[in-house]
Amino acid sequence: MTNNRDAKRTGLNDTAMARVLLKLRGQKLLTHLVLILFGLMMLYPLLWMISSSLKPEEIIFREQGLIPTSITFDNFVNGWNALRHPFSHYLFNSAVITAGAVVGNLLACSLAAYAFARLEFPFKKFWFAVMLGTIMLPLHVVLVPQYILFSELGWINTFYPLIVPKFLATDAFFIFLMVQFIRTLPRDLDEAALIDGAGHWRIFSRIIIPLSTPALATTAIFTFIWTWNDFLSQLIFLTNPDMHTVPVALRTFLDSSGDSSWGPMFAMSVIALGPIFGFFLAGQKYLVRGIATSGLK
């Protein structure tokens, strides 16, 4: 990144520089102020949820304010222990599925994406269209056939239906994502390598993959978040409560005919946000480690 301040520093006398700096700082302060205010507005629902998770359950809907009048951790304690297993059990199940899905998507989708982005083969356009087409059908109408398929395979109440398809690149979204990213990489890189005698596997693993860190990070983060939050397929394929995951467990707190445990639900929702937020925090530095920060400088 070019830095304005460094550029301006040379050839200015002290007072002029101070004035410029002051102006700059004012501008920056304003930027920050706007960004923070905007952030707070964006976060209001989340803050409300956190605040509610700390209120005694009976007063969550009776009390309007954002600041709790009395703080209790009962919802966390009760929520953690309310279900068949401690909540950690569901976090663990979700973590296993999510980890499998992330690895599967990274491997399978990047392979497919390389072929679509860099290689020539017959009917490429057709297959690309098919690939995009598979994203277009809503999940709900394939659910029953999928269930039959997986139950014929004996996969109901195992994690296979949620993990194996990822290793077979069924999330075409990410293939498309990586195709688009790879296509922003100048082709002379791999052509040079090709002339140097490198094979496609070498180009893929040594050039494209390292240069696609942002795309891979995006894939990893999105897969993580979507799998972590996915409800319907986990509900359908995992009916045994021992196999329940976080989204399914969270809904166990609710009953539309009344008697929902809103307090524990909010508390566990806050906890369930932890891993995805953590993963995002950890992963986001790779998001920006593109060409800009790699050896190409």
Binding site: E58, I60, F61, R62, A82, L83, R84, L143, V144, P145, Y147, I148, L149, S151, E152, L153, G154, W155, I156, N157, T158, Y160, V164, F231, L232, L235, I236, T239, N240, P241, V248, R251, T252, F253, L254, D255, S256, S257, G258, D259, S260, S261, W262, P264
Partner: protein, 430 residues
């Protein structure tokens, strides 16, 4: 047009799946985990919906059952109500239904007529059960479902809001719909802004009672029996409640919806509302105040009070289950065993087995004691419980809600909405 047999229904999709299975044989090892029957043990899959509390006590009761019946293992499957039927129907369509599962009355008829459920005659003891209520689980003389318990739909009043307004609770033995509206409007006027007399209910039980008072049944054979005039008057009454300020305005009413915890009575922002008796506990806990049960109002010339006992839900056994005997044993235990009754209390409605009820009566929570007393009180006035509803009845509540909303926002007149509602309902019902 649909002349195919059921056999085909269940075969075509598996056939499609087999193609996939063959291509994947390498990966597809193992049996589906749940129904292993090693060493003569029987594993029953049991499904129900509900929140964490119901899940906890049901599992506790199940553990008791497993203790008493060596060789039978229970594999519970549960989810929240909204997701329950997604799961269940997927399994039913895939020929993989749980051995025992709960359904509500609106879906019982449809599933039973679809050949999904087993005849429970001889599998479950029914002698001590309330025979009138038991009837509601029978279709054409075959007992497909055993009711878990009963509820009544009633008016509930937050005494604190009444007290603060300086208004006495009404005499519910004689009040009319006009009284209900006037009282609600008065409560809204005399209390602070932000407090309301009542909130809208578009529950089909309300309309059922409203119709019964005019001598009309809600459902007939595969269609609605309620008259267009009655539905028109009912919609008009809802609209008038909004116009008179008895309830919040249209958008607010929609926002409040049917959620019990966020209802006006539960948040001390409204005096009255209509709910099922098993929701009294939640309302009381939410508001932190006394909530009283009141009879539904009725007009002077009414033929009946119209109130009725509703089976809260039914236990049923899958018609495909190879373990129907064990499944019947479990259902029998859940509805007839005093120990099970003591653990589960009134969670699935007030128990309808007289001996179970007697044995747990003293241990019931306060709200249940109140509900029980109320149901005893009105027992002379109640109509017979509903019998199994036509197919498609599960969609009627949403339909009713949608047309109610068309009326609140004056996109349709009550007359138009009633006509459209009846037409659409009859096209859905079978």
């Amino acid at each position: 047009m649909t002349t195919h047999t059921k056999r085909l229904t269940r075969r075509v999709l598996p056939a499609l799946a087999v193609v996939g299975a063959m291509t994947l044989t390498a990966c597809g090892g193992g049996d589906s985990g749940g129904d292993g029957s090693d060493g003569g043990d029987v594993t029953l899959r049991v499904a129900w919906w509900g929140s964490d509390e119901r899940q906890r006590i049901t599992e506790e009761a199940i553990a008791k059952f497993e203790e008493q019946n060596e060789g039978i293992k229970i594999q519970p499957e549960y989810s929240t109500f909204d997701a329950y039927y997604d799961q269940l129907t997927t399994q039913v369509a895939s020929n993989d239904a749980p051995d025992v599962f709960a359904v509500e009355i609106r879906r019982l008829g449809e599933l039973a007529r679809g050949g999904v459920m087993a005849d429970l005659d001889g599998l479950v003891g029914t002698d001590d059960l309330n025979q009138e209520l038991l009837e509601s689980g029978a279709i054409d003389g075959v007992q497909y479902g055993i009711p878990t318990g009963a509820n009544a739909f009633a008016v509930m009043a937050n005494t604190k809001v009444f007290e603060d307004a300086g208004i006495d609770l009404p005499d519910d033995t004689s009040w009319t719909w006009e009284d209900y509206m006037e009282l609600s409007a008065e409560l809204t006027d005399t209390t602070d802004s932000g407090l309301y007399g009542t909130q809208i209910s578009n529950n089909d039980a309300f309309l059922k009672i409203f119709a019964a008072q005019r001598g009309e049944a809600f459902y007939g054979e595969g269609e609605l029996a309620v008259s267009e005039e009655t539905v028109t008057d009912w919609f008009a009454y809802q609209l008038e409640q909004i116009d008179e300020g008895a309830t919040p305005d249209g958008p607010r009413s929609v926002e409040i919806g049917e959620n019990v915890e966020t209802s006006l009575v539960a948040t001390n922002t409204g005096a009255m509302g209509m709910w099922w008796t098993n929701q009294l506990g939640t309302l009381t806990a939410g508001s932190g105040e006394e909530v009283e049960l009141l009879r539904m109002p009725s007009d002077a010339g009414a033929q009946t009070g119209g109130m009725f006992l509703q089976p809260t839900m039914f236990w049923t056994v899958s018609g495909n289950s190879a373990k129907q005997e064990a499944a019947g044993k479990l259902v029998d235990f859940l509805v007839n065993d005093p120990e099970a009754g003591a653990i589960m209390g009134s969670d699935r409605g007030l128990p309808m087995n007289s001996s179970v009820l007697d044995s747990i009566r003293d241990g019931l929570p306060e709200a249940d004691v109140k509900s029980l007393a109320f149901i005893d009180d009105i027992s002379d006035e109640t109509d017979v419980p509903p019998t199994a509803l036509p197919g498609g009845a599960g969609e009627i509540p949403n339909l009713l809600k949608r047309y109610s909303e068309e009326v609140y926002f004056e996109r349709m007149t009550p007359q138009e909405a009633a006509a459209a509602f009846i037409t659409e309902a009859n096209s859905v019902l079978s």
